[in-house]
Symmetry: D2
Subunit: 319 residues, 4 copies
Amino acid sequence: MGQVHGPNAARTRGLRIKYVVDPRDGLARAMAVRTGAAVATLEQALEDPGVGGVLVCSSTDQHLEQSLAALEKGKAVFCEKPVDLDPERARRALPRFEGARFVLGFNRRYDPHLLALKRQLDSGAIGSLESLHIVNHDPAAPPAGFIPTSGGLFKDFTIHDLDLARWLLDEEPVELFTAASCLVDPEIGRLGDVDTARTVLKTASGRLCVISNTRRSGCGYDQRVEAFGSRGMLAAGNPARDTVRTFTAAGEAAAPIAGSFAGRYVDSYRDQMAHFCEVAHGRTQPRTGFADGVAALVLAHGCRASADGGRMINLREWN
Amino acid sequence: MGQVHGPNAARTRGLRIKYVVDPRDGLARAMAVRTGAAVATLEQALEDPGVGGVLVCSSTDQHLEQSLAALEKGKAVFCEKPVDLDPERARRALPRFEGARFVLGFNRRYDPHLLALKRQLDSGAIGSLESLHIVNHDPAAPPAGFIPTSGGLFKDFTIHDLDLARWLLDEEPVELFTAASCLVDPEIGRLGDVDTARTVLKTASGRLCVISNTRRSGCGYDQRVEAFGSRGMLAAGNPARDTVRTFTAAGEAAAPIAGSFAGRYVDSYRDQMAHFCEVAHGRTQPRTGFADGVAALVLAHGCRASADGGRMINLREWN
Amino acid sequence: MGQVHGPNAARTRGLRIKYVVDPRDGLARAMAVRTGAAVATLEQALEDPGVGGVLVCSSTDQHLEQSLAALEKGKAVFCEKPVDLDPERARRALPRFEGARFVLGFNRRYDPHLLALKRQLDSGAIGSLESLHIVNHDPAAPPAGFIPTSGGLFKDFTIHDLDLARWLLDEEPVELFTAASCLVDPEIGRLGDVDTARTVLKTASGRLCVISNTRRSGCGYDQRVEAFGSRGMLAAGNPARDTVRTFTAAGEAAAPIAGSFAGRYVDSYRDQMAHFCEVAHGRTQPRTGFADGVAALVLAHGCRASADGGRMINLREWN
Amino acid sequence: MGQVHGPNAARTRGLRIKYVVDPRDGLARAMAVRTGAAVATLEQALEDPGVGGVLVCSSTDQHLEQSLAALEKGKAVFCEKPVDLDPERARRALPRFEGARFVLGFNRRYDPHLLALKRQLDSGAIGSLESLHIVNHDPAAPPAGFIPTSGGLFKDFTIHDLDLARWLLDEEPVELFTAASCLVDPEIGRLGDVDTARTVLKTASGRLCVISNTRRSGCGYDQRVEAFGSRGMLAAGNPARDTVRTFTAAGEAAAPIAGSFAGRYVDSYRDQMAHFCEVAHGRTQPRTGFADGVAALVLAHGCRASADGGRMINLREWN
């Protein structure tokens, strides 16, 4: 994700990349050239009083530790999701993030299309919200080598949807059920993960949310949300790559949907980084904080437990 | 449903309505006038050797008995869903329907849009099917008085989707989970039913299917299916009432979707009745038979048990 | 067109086909069987006092004469367009059609989609109308043998759009310009006709209308209207054959648009015949009368003159 | 347009704004601050050997003179359209632009949507092109004060479509007809201009093109193209502002289309400036050069003559 956030930050008005920290020397130097920065160790960077903030885009197992180290040095922190793979450890760290200038990379909340849906929802366009359907389908399965350190489908991928669900439902889930399969790549199954899943969340007031996930859509990066309320429905669809439609004897044809997260969420990444700049300067509160990361991680953990056990998880008893 | 099927049959080439049987005398006579038929008792109608078939559109608790009575007299039978409210009794009746000229009113299977989706699926347009999403949202809740005899949300309404799922999945579900709420009308809850539900089915090969139901969409009769395969996605949407779109400073506007099943499925009811005519004349086998009705009823029963118990139902053990 | 209107009338509540008149004996008998009618000569049919109305679907050169013959015998008349090929002769006949129970087959005015657009227009949804764009593209060129007696592109085909323009503009054109080419089939050009044209109409108040015609769209029967007003735009599109959309790596695909007028305007033909029934029974005034046919014919004549002369036609001076 | 191109160039990799030249001192200084430039006179800027190129965004009557002055000093030139208001003067200047590093601001040719349509066209997706429909509707009329120096509807606005038509038709028009009205603002008429127009172009091979213009769409910046070929149709539509659709009992609703050229063509302006950078560095040939500007200006002049004279213009004789 550093390949996305680094150049993104370098283009953000008010931000400048001073150091690139990466144990892989060649990559560090390439990114430094690309962003007009110097290569340094994390210690060097954190000691520099001219550094106001840190973008934590390392492997997941370092997110928590590096974020805390940066916060302790008085830096603002932008951190990729998930905050950690261990919900218990993440929960214990909660107090240390209170009031912190810390932005978590839940990029869906910064997407113009989903923000437009949220505004319509908040404006009462469909009355009171009753249920949600979230589609998050990756175009193609990641290399199997990525699976073991990724946290698996739920902590790596579904976690975005769990955060999106919490944001849109505006209420915490109290029950959770996940059914999952390995249909895309048997190697994923051999590594103990799944690649296709459906999760149902239920809140205390009875609101229902379905999350649809697959690692391989076959048709691009399928990202959609439908919200059902007492007076109607809202649907946020996949933005068209271009507006050209072709009509022939064979029928109507149009361009594929976005092929990857980088293309689909380009505006979201840009606006998220601008938000981080505002947070770093103390001009606004984080829209996606550490507590959101912990809440979504607990739910992702629950998805895995539900899928493994073939049972509904009562989240009130479970935690 | 007699109000739909009666006039529909009267318009079907090859069918003629000879008798109307309805204990409510006024309604019987009105329908008789409308369809050019005479009013009779069931016995009179069944004794008439000039009667080749019977449309069973009575209340659900009479479906099974009346269908059997008609079959015994050598008549072809079209019967509205569900076949019964008791899965056990329905299952016991199975042998008596073997080879029968019996068409069950699972109208989705006759809908041109869903048939087009099925054809694309069968043609391999999206590779092998992996998961399904079925939306079946009623426009507005039925009068509370309808609930007690209806069989409830699952046996009255979801049953259509359960049949649709079996047809499209082309494989029996082995696990089932339903989460349900009463969000639309508290009176429905007081009567022991629910009005909002999400059901997840899983087949032996790992295919997943979500069924989304509500008794009140707020925006019309929302009927959609999405099928996800190894090489892409198929989506069957709501037909537009007209093609006019209005663009003003306020944005784009278009007509509402169909307001009721009668409008949405008018072609499906027509083609289903034509199919019954073919079956009655022995020219083709029933596309939706009694066994389909039993299978869907068992699943609907499972939905209720899952929602009540807050647990996944293992259908292999359960039956 | 008798192949469309005959069976259509036979299905219309309140209408019955008593006689089929067709010099081609085989066709006459086939249609008689199909509609439950007898074969007769025109004289026999017109002499029968049991005949209330006549559908004139003969070749264009007989429309006027046969319509008048039927009206003289006190019959109601439905007549296919155009009323004649000679605007002068048609104009002279105008007085004989005053107050007549005569419906002209300008089927666009009965189409539910175009009626919905008209209603929006009349409701002020886009303020006051300023300009129109009418697309009328045939799927494929007619056999060359049809051209000589057809009246050519303008009197046979564009005439529908000229009537539609008059109806929607709600004001007579005063200027007209047509540019035309022969791009589809050189044989059409050799026969003195064109196959591709654009016509611009201007009304006294300055409203502008473009009519786009081709004999061969390559993608089906393309029938669309856009209306531009002081506060926005209305667009009536091509109805979808089905709602299924397929998404793969190659992009989005959907079914072709309607392949012919019979499919596209099936509702329009049905409603037009029901309207004729009402007119025949004296229960309503014709929505498309002989005067509309003359006005559109004069404009079609102007299109040809403009295209031939490469000049704008001032309709006020011209007639 | 300097408000668009200045900041745009400042963001373009490979370009830097060194001087801002504007007789309106306050505006000059504001733009200088915004782009990190200094305020200077045109002479000062042209004398500076460190200046490699000039963006000519002055009033139309200065375009030609300033472009020539810059070219004489060896600078590359980006110039806004039109090249001049006098076709004869522009034509005389043609030899001085031969081989020049000169990019004309015909931004449509850089728009990703129209480029996608052009690619489809060139790939033969719809066979051979037969006709075109270009919609260019401004959201709201400009202040009347802008009209006298603008060149009027045709040289200021339609000129974009005339260039687009030349590019897509890939063949020069030989005949032209324009019908025009003043329907939007009577003040525009009093100033001798029109605000609503339809133009028909015909090429030597018989291809037809309609251009639809209005100064006030009432629904935003409506920019669409349809191309009709021997095997089908291509349509480039208005990009959606967001993908959210709202469904209620009142129907379907979506966001308005782009409200201005700045929003609609933001990618086009960006890519056009990147292209200018490539041209300035001598790495590529201009995609839109001075000769294109002259050809479109001649056609715009013809539109005016046709509309004024109510007659078709034969462009072969006319020039």
